[in-house]
Symmetry: C2
Subunit: 205 residues, 2 copies
DNA sequence: GTCTATACAAGGATAGAC
DNA sequence: GTCTATCCTTGTATAGAC
């Protein structure tokens, strides 16, 4: 038995039933090991959660960094958002409805949610500014700050809304839906070049 | 002991510590009654939640209905949103992070979340259309649909974001912050009359 | 009708044998 | 590294006093 196998099975169960509705005994049973053995790998259920959150966070960081290598354009930016949305969908079981993890985890300093949010906000601010300089967006400082606030909330909770409304949402459908909402918001601040770039990416809204 | 007293104390504790972190024994202790006596009034913890959700839903319905008596204007609409935001803040303990309540409760048909959302969406659609007819917004059908999607997600999760980021947010501060974000979004679709109305309401963004 | 005491089940967590 | 046994907390149900 390895940590990886356990996390894989755990994420699968969390996605299916929700974090709160999967017990350590059930997880152990699904892995054909004893509950005691499971706690040899992960002392607490919360440790499983934190490990998955770290996987998720690493994926997102990589996704963003590979975007930053590209030319800033609305099309590339929408590609980035789609990749991030796919990550979120993949980890929805640990992402949705865990109102407690930032609290618990922050207190124990395992996963500092507030500082993660601050870093992400700084990155998005840079991204929107660059899109402005590249002539894809027409934005002043206040617009950028607004777009950052928008993407922070929207990008954090679209999957929660989708899961609230439909326990087992269809991946491509929901991503298409929320990405098109995002594209429309982006178009409100886009130049003609930026609008053409959105059109080129090929999303309907 | 009355239901009202119990719900009041329960909401206070939920707001302070979060629904999941308040036990029935703790609630009983705070009320100076025995745990068994508490279950005389509310058989299950979930029943407490549903009762509070109903209180919350009734308040929101009343708030919206009193808005619908007024002249449609951006200023009145922002007033409505502030009132709704205040309701949400008041009930944040049952509202934030209960990813499960729509599922559990829908299955038992006590509180049909999906149909509540559908009704609210229809109401918002009507409100935005009226603001268009009143000359405060410049919107076509797609814009209205977009604004409805926006307000559904934004209006549902701003308080969750605020609570995630700060366990005990300052009421006036967070409401001001999120209302100003909303006002900015509204202004993107506003006519000059509509912009003047937002300005008259006196929110900075 | 109102309340207390108590028991039970489920789940997280731990100790220690092998 | 894996297991069994056990503890503790918490939601829940019930018997019965007044």
């Amino acid at each position: 038995m390895t940590d990886i196998e356990i996390l894989k099975k755990a994420l699968s169960l969390f996605n299916e039933k929700g974090y709160a509705h999967v017990g350590m005994r059930e997880l152990a049973r699904e892995l054909n090991i004893s509950p005691g053995n499971l706690t040899y790998y992960f002392k607490k259920k919360e440790d499983v959660l934190v490990a998955l959150l770290n996987q998720f966070s690493i994926r997102n960081t990589q996704t963003i960094e590979s975007y930053l290598q590209l030319e800033p354009s609305n099309a590339n930016f929408l590609r980035l958002m789609r990749n991030i949305f796919e990550n979120q969908f993949m980890f929805r079981g640990v992402y949705v409805g865990n109102q407690f993890f930032p609290v618990v985890v922050v207190e124990k300093k395992v996963f500092d949610y507030q500082s993660v949010v601050k870093k992400r906000k700084a990155v998005y601010q840079e991204i929107f500014s660059s899109l402005g300089k590249a002539g894809h967006l027409q934005v002043n400082d206040k617009d950028v700050s607004f777009l950052v606030s928008f993407i922070t909330l929207f990008g954090r909770f679209w999957i929660t809304e989708a899961t609230l409304f439909n326990k087992s949402p269809n991946k491509d459908e929901v991503i298409e839906h929320y990405l098109s909402l995002f594209a429309r918001q982006l178009s409100l601040f886009s130049t003609d070049v930026g609008k053409a770039s959105i059109k080129m990416y090929g999303i309907k809204f």
